[in-house]
Amino acid sequence: MNGRTRLVAIGMHLILTVWTIFVLAPIGLMLISAFKSQAEIFTKPLSLPGSLNLSAFQRAWNIGIGSFMLNSLLVTVLSVAVIITTSGLAAYVLARSEAKVMKWLYILIIASFAIPVQSVLVPLYQMVSGGHMLNSQLGIVLPYAAFGIPFTTVLFYAFFLEFPRELEEAARLDGCSRLQIFFRIVVPLSGPVVASAAIFQAVFNWNEFLLALMMLTEKSVRTLPVGIYGLTTQYSSDWPAIMAALTIATLPLLILFILAQRHFVRSLAGLGK
């Protein structure tokens, strides 16, 4: 490494360090506040908690975090399952078909990235309402899937294009039908891309707020973000409990992410081919 590239490397690391601190600071604040007492939060907001006080977690759990989490889990798992299955099949057909119309379909799917959720809120609400799916978990799973499928399809498409064709040809000679090739050869070898797509969509849908706020108005069906938001107005005096609730909400994803981050980074790095 010569002096110049070394300087660049140091500069990059400096920028990344500052950025990391910037991102992690609120999370750190959330964590330490969850262990503090109400008084401590206001008198010494930045200091470490005086004692390891778990009562805030207990209070948070008692005001319904448990059921919010169950709802979040249900909605996330369902929507991710729908997204992965649909996108996988669609991307495979797009990547393998030689028909011209598929190229146009693909472009259309990419174009749909450009549609922000906010711009379709009203019609979407009307559709879900018209389908009598307000305040049902399914009502939120379908829009989540609709917004997750284009990105995931593109992710899978890139992966399938790189997938060794000889393996599929060998399978054809070995007597596999198209569907059997997909399920017996392609799917078992798609672990990395499925993992990263699943994490990506899980993070997104787990944290999704706007649609959930609109469509899940009854407390019994609320997901974590909306549920906790409800707490801020209802229990505004109990900041430690809210912080504890947020910590509980963050934890599952954090664990998932740490376990599978290798897949995640690798497949995003392969994107755009």
């Binding site: 000889e166 393996l167 596999c176 078992p188």
Partner: protein
């Protein structure tokens, strides 16, 4: 053992014709090697036989039955790919038994077939491993084993050795020869490597630009190539080609003048010559330029490739230059059947013996052969 017949097969991609009417027949139990430069359509033809490509016209028959439109798995062919194409998520045994499993055969039958193939290829101790735990040579054995397990009518190989190092490649050549003798199966083997073709084939098909140039046994093709392409393609180093002019013709006897050669060379034509004053190409194999007969042409040593017991010497003869050869400067390649001390610039000579030369007409067709052949 069934025969394989390729009958006037054509294949076009959009507006590019990859196969321009290819016909040949592999007799039952024959080891046919299809050889040609890269891009000439070898893989296309093999993949067409396997059913991975749809042909534009023509017929592909196994034992007289046209299979050109059958499903790939119903054709009774098995293919070995250049980069093995083993399923990474399956063990060696599962890889080898996959086709039988898909065909719904009972487990006992599959196990027996896998065991038998593994014994033939000596990979029994690797059966429970995943492909990534194997070396390149072992992977290629597994790929061949996968073909054997299916007991196909016809084996297809697409450059199966080109990913292996030189030592392993010559070992596998022998191995494949043994395999063919043992299975007595009809095999079509594709390669761009003329050494593989010469050493393994019972019959060679030379393919060039989507067309067959010549078919025959290795020695037939080596000794009596039908045209300049085949003459140049088979044999290493390549045949030396010299551009000359016909100065005299009397029936089938002609005299040819080469630049830098004082005496005329007298040849006997078997085909139609260009006539007096016409251009003609003479060909000399490197081993035909070392000997006692003929005209001596002096030159200097440009490059020596010592092969141990023997040597290849590239000779700079001044005016007499080769064209379309391995040496861009037009040095003449000579094969010396003895050791040569490598010395750049040393005086040496070649001997042009008219009775050992080939001649090619303006259209590239062979019109004269060495007298002994």
């Amino acid at each position: 053992m069934p025969s394989l017949e390729i009958d006037n097969v054509k294949k076009s991609y959009d507006n590019f014709q990859a196969l321009k009417g290819v016909s040949f027949r592999a007799e039952p139990g024959e080891f046919v090697v299809m050889v040609g430069p890269s891009g000439c359509g070898k893989s296309t033809l093999l993949r067409s036989i396997a059913g991975l490509e749809t042909i534009s016209s023509g017929a592909i028959r196994i034992d007289g039955r046209d299979i050109a439109h059958d499903d790939p798995s119903q054709r009774g062919v098995a293919m070995v790919f250049q980069n093995y194409a083993l399923y990474p998520h399956m063990t060696v045994a599962q890889n080898m038994g996959f086709a039988l499993k898909m065909a719904g055969r009972p487990k006992a039958e599959i196990d027996a077939a896998v065991q038998r193939a593994a014994q033939i290829l000596r990979i029994t101790e690797h059966l429970e491993k995943k492909p990534k735990a194997l070396s390149g040579g072992q992977k290629q054995r597994v790929a061949i084993g996968r073909a054997i397990t299916r007991s196909p009518d016809v084996f297809l190989f697409d450059e199966p050795l080109s990913n292996l190092d030189a030592a392993l490649r010559s070992q596998m050549r022998i191995e494949l020869g043994r395999l063919h003798a043992e299975l007595k199966a009809t095999m079509v083997y594709v390669t761009h490597d003329q050494t593989e073709a010469m050493t393994m084939a019972s019959r060679i098909v030379v393919l060039n630009a989507g067309q067959i140039e010549q078919t025959g046994t290795p020695l037939e093709l080596y000794n009596r190539p039908t045209n300049r392409f085949v003459a140049g393609f088979l044999g290493t180093p390549r045949m030396n080609f010299f551009a000359g002019r016909v100065v005299r013709q009397d029936g089938s006897a002609i005299s040819v003048q080469l630049p830098g050669v004082d005496l005329n060379l007298d040849l006997t034509l078997e085909g139609e010559g260009p006539g007096v004053g016409g251009e003609i190409v003479l060909g000399a194999r490197p081993e035909a330029l070392d000997g006692a007969g003929g005209i001596e042409i002096k030159g200097t040593t440009a490059v020596v490739e010592n092969l141990g017991r023997e040597a290849l010497v590239y000779v700079d003869t001044g005016a007499l230059r080769t064209f379309d050869s391995e040496s861009q400067e037009g040095y003449v390649a000579v094969h010396r059947p003895y050791q040569v001390e490598a010395r750049f610039g040393a005086h040496t000579s070649i001997r042009l013996d008219a009775s050992r030369l080939y001649a090619f007409g303006p259209d590239g067709r062979s019109i004269a052969f060495p007298r002994s052949l």
